[in-house]
Amino acid sequence: MIAYYGKKLLLLLGSLFLLSLLVFFIARLAPGDPLVSYYGDRVEKMSTEERWQAEERLRLNDPLPVQYARWLEGALQGDFGISYKYKTEVTEVIGSRAVNTLILGGTAFVLVFAGALALGVFCVWHEGRLADRLICRIGTALSCIPEFWLSLLLILIFSVALGWLPSSGAYTPGDGGLWDRLQHLVLPLLVVVLGHLWYYSYMVRNRLMEEVRAEYVLLQKSCGLSKSAILLRHCLRNALPSYLSIMALAVPHIMGGTYVVEAVFSYPGLGTLSYESARYQDYNLLMLLCLISGAVVIFCSLLAQTVGERLDRRLKHGAEAAAVATVAAAAAEEGACAHD
């Protein structure tokens, strides 16, 4: 058991190391001036001498491998450097924003998790009937709408036309009470949930549709069990392990889904932060953000495997390949929608 988790942990650390290497070199090799994010417009007026001094102060003059080694040394001791733009510790900058993203992403995840399950069960219950077909149609249509456009539409309706909800930010400066925060959360949350809900409902629906075609359903029916008892107590229970592993993979998917939404609503979260840092060469900030999201992705896929094996003993004994296949298929489908 310890060897098993030890191996997984090693894999996680190795992947993070490779990830840091990759991001470091791509970021440094991409053209752009990190000085701009530190000194702002003053950079344009600097003489060559001043520039050189500034670069020396930020230690940007050494060869890349040396810079990477220094970064790694600091990172291993918990020092991730300072953000060029905010001029404070990177961890502080991220810490102040992470809460907002966790609120948005976490709430969205809970809603998608519950909603997808409910919608999937509802569709299978009414399989082939009008309600099911209608939901399928609407769901497919919804999944085609780009997130930024949906955001714009909602802003247009609820902020501009009706004036009910604010269109940007996480709270009104000076206010920041619970009610105010909730009002700011509604629209971004709605977009993230609508953007992901059908994708997972469809998975639940397909999985359950397979399940209700099994032989044991027929047997239970002939024994006189009610439809709800069969569907909820038996079919759903069999489908739950794979749903849970898929939802573990959904964590990074939904968190990543907040990126564009945050940008449209200027919601001060990790999404806007990483977008800024990539655009304006705030190297240290970018590195840590990539490492965090990479760690979440890798950790969640390990979690998905473990959850599947824990809940469904069949997966562990002999049929480990099946678990991997479910997870791989889910990941593959997820990738197909990654750009959405």
Binding site: S15, E127, S143, W149, A161, A336, H339
Partner: protein
């Protein structure tokens, strides 16, 4: 008594050809290709006297904040958007097949390494990867943005290709071909590709959709196409100003065109999703 009930919408759809979406898509593509024949204005001409005008007899879909006619822009811009969708997908599919096949045919350690790397790239948020790669070109153009989108969307297809190749590689006909001196590309094209083609077809078509969405999102965020290159995405990037002014047509109309196209592509893609079981529900 056995109740007769239709199995499922998807099973039904599998029997039915998606005529309507196909027709609609042909209409949009043809309209975009031959737009010179019927668009009333030069899509790039900025008529500042008529900026931000609502839909009217003169301007069917209204004008944007720079006074360009939206009706003309939609048809003209569709070309760019569709081109980017196809070009980016071609890049990603080619990369995916090559990398997937290499990984599938490689010895175990190399296969493991390539797949690990693929997963690592997959774990970087897509938006960041695009921003970093896009920085390599000073000014985004149709070609550069297709390349960037293609370079960041091959991973999941490559994984599927690799799994399929791994299963196929031990079959006798591949062995026979190898013995007769068939090279990598020969085996890939003649023996492997025809076999995994059907399993990646759905993903490839969905990639077209993804690429069009990606282009419009990037242009909207201001890191994609500049305003002068008209596409459905760059048309929507002006919306920050029009939002506050309440000019809904600048946002809604190009968006509807975009979504209609995406829906048609999805419907067509569903055809390749592999037939579902047509058995009746036991419930």
């Amino acid at each position: 008594m056995i109740k007769k009930r239709m199995t499922s919408p998807s099973a039904l759809a599998a029997g039915k050809k998606p005529l309507l979406p196909a027709l609609f898509l042909v209409l949009i593509v043809a309209g975009c290709l031959c737009c010179e024949l019927f668009i009333p204005y030069d899509p790039a001409y900025m008529d500042l006297a008529h900026a931000s005008e609502g839909p009217s007899r003169q301007f069917l879909f209204g004008t944007d904040t720079m006074g360009r006619d939206i009706f003309s822009m939609i048809w003209y811009g569709g070309r760019i958007s569709l081109t980017i969708g196809l070009l980016a997908t071609a890049v990603s599919a080619l990369l995916a097949v090559l990398i997937g096949a290499c990984s599938g045919l490689a010895p175990r350690w190399l296969d493991g390494l390539i797949m690990r790397l693929t997963e690592i790239i997959l774990s970087v948020p897509n938006l960041l990867l695009v921003v970093l790669l896009q920085a390599l070109w000073q000014q985004a153009g149709v070609l550069s943005i297709s390349l960037v989108i293609g370079l960041t969307s091959w991973m999941s297809i490559a994984k599927v290709v690799r799994t399929e190749v791994r299963q196929l590689v031990h079959s006798d006909y591949v062995l026979a071909s190898r013995c007769m001196g068939g090279g990598f590309f020969h085996i890939l094209a003649r023996h492997l590709a025809p076999n995994f083609f059907s399993s990646i077809m759905f993903m490839v078509i969905m990639n077209i959709r993804g690429a069009i969405v990606a282009e419009s999102t990037l242009s909207f965020l201001g890191i994609g196409l500049p305003l002068e290159i008209i596409s459905w995405g760059s048309m929507l990037s002006l919306t920050e100003n029009s939002l506050l002014a309440g000019c809904w047509w600048i946002i809604v109309i190009p968006g509807l065109f975009l979504i209609a196209t995406l829906m048609c592509i999805t419907e067509l893609g569903e055809r390749f999703r592999g037939a579902r079981s047509r058995r009746h529900s036991n419930l």
